[in-house]
């Protein structure tokens, strides 16, 4: 495996091997060619030969003519097995379940792993394989990526790092030098990276988009998307689509005007921007009274999904600003709290669906929209923060069904399209009154999973109500812009936390597991018949996907705010999750 170490200048640890290479036909082919080519050559030539392959000048072919052919064949096989992360690989990610190449594991947002080595049969025997202590304080919300044996992840202080995915040993670390006066809405967090070619991409808390060399962590390009001093920031894991890096802004509590951007992966040049709040003259602008659109919010801080067949990006948006007072922004406030279908090449809006019109409860619709295909329907499903589970026809944007999946008091009727409509008592008052769900929502950013085997949608849910109050608040650039606040309602205690399995066909809750308290953990499903999630008490839990019965748990010593993922190296399956201030990887003994 020396050639691997030679091939990459940054692998300081010994020969991290590649799953694609180690198993399957590649391995056999490479071995056979290697044996044939090197047998007559002197010992030690092997290493030098590969230097040649890298382009070293020393002639090394004396007497070993067939090495030339061998090298040629090698290079082709190598190109196939260790190719950069091409757009095709991302589209066909199901073919390489050992890798986890996007925030949700694939473009559909299912957060489903095709790996089945760890299964309902043996999950009880799982053990911790390694722990990587990030060393940053706060909430670790990252979902790591794994490509060809290397894990890439981020931390809340805008660091990015690469680890040997078998051992957790670090390969490189990038630490952003953030200005002291950044204004990250809602805390310093980062949910992860996108990978494409030989680069990984990160949005930063000072509202830059950066590309890092995936082998060194060196900055390849760094572009400013917006002014951080006015409350713009990035916390979202970008999505690589074709040659574009798609990313949405945060800052809904600072009165930003939300947008979704796409950058050229090679150069960082901005290819398009879609403002989530329409300007005068644009469709939807009349859903804002006066000048309220200028500070209308509608950020886009969770990673969307992509349908290669129609070349559409589905990206959800957040609350209008100010979040708890709608008086000064009369109207539906498009495209806040909506699911947007954008043309990937142009950023043009194909359709939108607004979950909560004229929101006054901070119910960002920034949940991962999950692409689901049935026999005859192309669907997209979203468990929304407002307490309803929506199934939408993703070709037209038409609502198919909306069913509550948690405690809610804001809606007791539906409009002609079947969309839940707010009742008279939903709006916050000056004194404050109780509405369910609370501002944290029935769910929040924690990514859900759809398991194609059980055909169920698993989501972390919370039953909590809040007292919503409002007060006039002037907009001041760079200052928090809530229009008052919310408080947990004591009447509604205790707050309950669940893992729920929803049948998208009916909206029915098929199974549920009650956590000790509400959790912020995402959910993963695997072909092993398992669902994984974490809890606020620090447990990582493997459930039987059919029954949601816990089969195994591990106490990680820190609350979970991240989504789990699965990968394989050397033919061994791992499940990883961030908790506390560490990244954990689990596997079979």
């Amino acid at each position: 495996m020396t050639f691997l170490a030679r091939n990459s200048e940054t692998w300081r640890s010994s020969s991290p091997s590649m799953c694609a290479w180690k198993s399957g036909p590649f391995r056999a082919a490479l071995r056979a060619i290697g044996k044939w080519a090197f047998m007559p050559c002197v010992p030690g030539l092997k290493r030098r030969a590969f230097e040649t392959e890298r382009g070293a000048k020393a002639p090394l072919f004396h007497g070993c003519g067939k090495i030339v052919f061998a090298l040629y064949t090698f290079s082709i096989l190598l190109a196939m097995s260790f190719a950069q992360v091409t757009s095709d690989r991302l589209v066909n990610s199901a073919k390489e379940p050992q890798n986890w190449m996007t925030y949700s594991g694939d473009y559909s947002g299912k957060r489903f792993s095709g790996l089945d080595q760890i299964s309902v049969i043996n999950a009880h025997a799982m053990v911790a394989k390694w722990v990587y202590q990030v060393g940053a304080t706060g909430k670790l919300e990252t979902t790591p990526l794994v490509v060809d044996g290397i894990m890439y992840a981020t931390a809340q202080d805008d660091r990015a790092f690469a680890l040997d995915a078998r051992s957790g040993r670090p390969i490189w670390m990038y630490q952003r030098q953030l200005p002291g006066d950044i204004r990250p809405c809602c805390g310093r967090v980062n949910r992860g990276l996108a990978i494409l070619g030989d680069k990984v991409f990160m949005g930063t808390l000072d509202a830059h988009v950066i590309a890092l060399d995936s082998k060194t962590g060196n900055v390849v390009w760094d572009v400013t998307a917006a002014d951080y001093r006015t409350g713009h920031s990035f916390t979202v894991a970008p999505l690589a689509v074709k040659n574009l890096i798609v990313i949405g802004i945060s800052g809904g509590e600072y009165g930003v005007r939300g947008f979704i951007d796409a950058y050229d992966a090679d150069t960082g040049a901005r290819k398009w921007r879609f403002y989530t709040v329409p300007a005068p003259g644009e469709p939807g602008h009349d859903s804002w009274s006066g000048d309220s659109w200028k500070v209308g919010g509608a950020p886009a801080w969770n990673t969307g999904t992509y349908d290669p067949a129609t070349n559409q990006i589905f990206w959800p948006t957040g609350n209008p600003s100010p979040s708890n007072r709608g008086d000064a922004r009369a109207g539906d406030n498009l495209y806040s709290n909506s699911l947007l279908a954008l043309d990937a090449d142009s950023g043009k809006l194909n359709w939108y669906f607004q979950f909560t019109k004229h929101d006054e409860h901070d119910w960002d619709a920034t949940q991962v929209p999950v692409i689901i295909d049935t026999k005859d329907k192309k669907l997209i499903a979203q468990a929304d923060r407002n307490g309803f589970f929506y199934v939408i026809d993703r070709t037209t944007g038409k609502l198919i069904s909306a069913a509550p999946y948690g405690k809610q008091t804001w809606s007791d009727s539906k409009d002609a399209d079947g969309r839940p409509v707010a009742n008279q008592n939903a709006s916050p008052t000056l004194k404050g009154h109780t509405v369910c769900p609370g501002a944290l929502g029935t769910t929040n950013f924690m990514p859900p999973t759809y398991d194609p085997q059980t055909e169920l949608f698993y989501v972390t849910a919370r039953d909590q109500c809040d007292i919503f109050s409002k007060a006039p608040q002037p907009y001041e650039p760079g200052h928090a812009f809530y229009g008052s606040a919310y408080f947990p309602s004591e009447e509604a205690e205790p707050y309950l936390g669940f893992l729920k399995a929803i049948d998208p066909a009916t909206g029915e809750i098929k199974q549920k597991f009650q956590h000790t308290s509400p959790t912020w953990s995402g959910v993963l499903s695997t072909a092993g018949g398992l669902v994984f999630s974490g809890d606020a008490e620090g447990n990582f839990i493997a459930f039987d996907a059919k029954t949601l019965k816990p089969l195994w748990h591990f106490q990680m010593g820190g609350a979970v705010y991240a989504g789990p993922m699965a990968f394989a190296v050397d033919g061994k399956e791992y499940v990883a999750i961030a908790a506390g201030s560490s990244v954990y990887a689990f596997g079979l003994p």
Partner: protein, 276 residues
């Protein structure tokens, strides 16, 4: 008399040092506009625990009291808001997950707002502290389960600081209706809200019944203190039964058990201790 002068001089010196050490004076002191701006910031960042109007919200102290336990001046208040109070639920600026980090100016605005909300302390105490102490350790039986300054029981929350962090009304309500609002117990930084003093009854594998309060709990294990202050560490799947209620283990003290006057004395005692 001489002694007194020394004390006065000492207090003056302490004040001087405190002012010099922190970030000097509040640049916005007394500015009504700043107080108004501070009210917005307070609602976003502080009211979750300290309540609307800073009157205390069940989790955080009533900040309308002129005398505060942790801070003697604006500079110290600024420091507490910036850095939090280690070992308590008071987080450092920007880390509570509720609001967003505040700028120095916004923190000064909040300090100004809190000052504008302060009410002068009542001219005379609302009860007899000495009698309250007698009741606490005597007839009212509080000390069976509650500790003050290291003396008393362990089953209920330590009440040494409660007088400084809860309003009289909140303490009175807790005594009259203990189950109304279970006290917050363990402050677990990794959790959004700390564990509560829930009453739990379990039956172990060998048929033994244990009743007590939860010290901590997750989906798989529970740590209980029983009525005799023994700690039990139990795995839930090995229990025959596990029942938890939000009925407090504390008996309800109605006026037959503790008259309004006596209760006022107990609260006065707790307030006198807690404000130290």
């Amino acid at each position: 008399m001489k002694m007194r002068r020394w004390i006065v001089a000492g207090v003056f010196l302490a004040d001087f040092v405190a002012l010099g050490a922190g970030q000097e004076h509040n640049p916005l002191s007394g500015d009504p506009k700043a107080a108004k701006a501070g009210e917005y910031e307070f609602r976003i960042n502080c009211a979750l625990c300290h309540g609307l109007g800073a009157k205390g919200g069940g989790r955080g102290p009533d900040l309308t009291r002129a005398v505060k336990k942790r801070t003697r001046n604006d500079a110290e208040m600024f420091q507490v808001i910036s850095n939090g109070i280690p070992g308590t639920a008071m987080p450092a600026n920007g880390t509570n997950g509720q609001g967003v980090g505040m700028t120095d100016r916004e923190i000064w605005q909040i300090v100004t707002y809190i000052r504008s909300q302060e009410v002068k302390a009542a001219a005379k105490p609302a009860g007899d502290s000495a009698h309250g102490k007698e009741l606490f350790y005597g007839d009212a039986n509080c000390a069976m389960c509650h500790m003050v300054d290291g003396k008393g029981g362990r089953l209920g929350p330590d009440l040494s600081g409660v007088g400084g962090s809860r309003t009289r009304a909140a303490i009175i309500d807790s005594v009259r209706n203990p189950s109304n609002r279970l006290a917050w117990g363990l402050t677990e930084v990794t959790k959004e809200f700390p564990q509560e003093y829930e009453t739990v009854t379990v039956v172990t594998e060998d048929g033994k019944q244990i009743k007590g309060v939860t010290l901590n709990e997750d989906s798989f294990s529970v740590q209980i203190m029983d009525m005799g202050e023994h700690i039990h560490l139990l795995e839930k799947d090995k229990l025959k039964s596990f029942q938890k209620t939000r009925e407090s283990a504390m008996p309800k003290y109605d006026t037959d058990v503790l008259s309004d006057k006596d209760l006022a004395d107990v609260v006065t005692y707790l307030t006198s201790v807690g404000a130290k």
